[in-house]
Symmetry: C2
Subunit: 336 residues, 2 copies
Amino acid sequence: MSDQITIAIDAMGGDHAPSVPVEGAVLAARNTQTKILLVGDQGPVETELEKHDTEGLPISVIGSEGKIEDSEAPALALRQKPRSSVLVATGLVKAGIADAIISMGSTGGTMAAAVVLLGTIKGIERPAIGGPIVGSAPNQTIVDLGSNIDCKPSQLLGFGILGSVFSKVLLKINDPKIGVLSVGSEQNKGNSLTKEASTLFSKSGLNFIGNVEGNDLAKGTADVVVCDGFVGNVLLKLVEGIGTELGLQLQSALLNKMPLEDIRGIVQELHSKNNVVDSRGGGPVFGVDGVSIVGHGSASPGTFERAVRLAKMCVETKLIEEMNEQVPRIMELIAD
Amino acid sequence: MSDQITIAIDAMGGDHAPSVPVEGAVLAARNTQTKILLVGDQGPVETELEKHDTEGLPISVIGSEGKIEDSEAPALALRQKPRSSVLVATGLVKAGIADAIISMGSTGGTMAAAVVLLGTIKGIERPAIGGPIVGSAPNQTIVDLGSNIDCKPSQLLGFGILGSVFSKVLLKINDPKIGVLSVGSEQNKGNSLTKEASTLFSKSGLNFIGNVEGNDLAKGTADVVVCDGFVGNVLLKLVEGIGTELGLQLQSALLNKMPLEDIRGIVQELHSKNNVVDSRGGGPVFGVDGVSIVGHGSASPGTFERAVRLAKMCVETKLIEEMNEQVPRIMELIAD
């Protein structure tokens, strides 16, 4: 592998594949000083690529067969489609040919491919998805956002360690504050899961600030917030839904009060400020032993470019190495 | 008891008691054709009442001693303060002297007083709090919003029946659609609680539409949404928090684009539209055998007037009688 960082992009993943992933790959190859491997059905991907001026750009196409659909059960699909784009792309990381993989396709499929091919970090049983969801707290990492529905307290501890490393290494937050999402700030408030997780965190040596509540998510009280994937997923989708509805309300409230163009500008400004998932390009799968970035199927070419920048940062900052060091260390500390 | 509906108001409950509850009681007595019993420390309440022109208004003061604070454990506080305002006020309903009780004080204290003095509806073990939380779905009743942290599936069924009766009787929604809040629309998505609750709902004869997701809360897909009180409370506080932050963002986005007065008007308009808890005045304690209305401590005098109108409607529409009929009937159906 050359000094240049190499990123494998799942060209079949996302709502408008392969055209959007291919356009995103071209943008990224042009602007991010990385080498891009586009993994997908060879014919269609090359046809898309020919629509762009790629002269001198470090892009190659790697052929694969088919894709994992959102509607498929990930584990079964992996077995049935061993040559599917996300498996081939993740395999390139496993083989040391690529440094990271990006997919805007099935989140479950991308995570399952990462678990099977890259393995999990020691001390982590199953990976999680994390990131910011509220525009007013764009550097707050919330884990898990939907992968682990019924959780054990030790899983919440794992989310907190992974989130804390991400927050420190990637977001440059010194000694990140970790909170457990609950229903009251007092230690005795919460369900059995959050109370037991709090006990673990208080022994972890991490900068644990106790319980945080729903309103703290908007204020960004903690840098890292842990919750089970059921709660996280409901929150993620609620915030998206509220954003859409408030955008419509705002438009109608401003109507006839200023020029249409200004209204559009303001609504757009607030939308971008609050669509924090898109502004980062996606998020890493937390807990797997390699850089695997997942994003929303509605990703634009610009989203892919941002995802490549994120992947590159994960590699350069040695995010995975740091996670591999911190998780087992703290898990052992707790076990004592 | 005369034909006129009589409402007991906890004059000691709320952030600015007794002044705000007293002013609210005066408003309500003037505008809602109800008789008001103001329950609180006699001296301070009468002093407040003298500041208003109450000539000919149907308001009486009933003396009580002290109040239950938010910081107190409700069950213990009830034993320690048997003459506290919320207990005396709820006792008036128990004795048939008042038709309903309203308190903006400790929610836990109000609920505990209702359980102890009025009892629960047959089939309901513990009461719940429900109501709309998202401005774009102002007639969507979400239960539970924070009273029952660790729930059994049968409790979620109870929330659904109570919410459905409220929705039909009070909000005049014919055959209300009931959804279980979960992480995917398919029946197999969710945690063990929601999956088992779904099985119960599908046997209930209610208009059960299956799972709803976070974004459905903003769209108002279901008329009644059930969730455990942990999830409901996190959602409630998140929506409040986001509203505050977006209000600030909007103000700064509009700055220098229109006159300050117009900005204030728009922010105020959107705030009122989305502060759905205040616009209804509060919500009934779901599951107790009598009308007990709780609201936010920040209630204004106008909030009290709206709460009195709500209480009056609950009495007039025979909400509790209908709950007493439906809950045991459906619970028996499920048990078969």
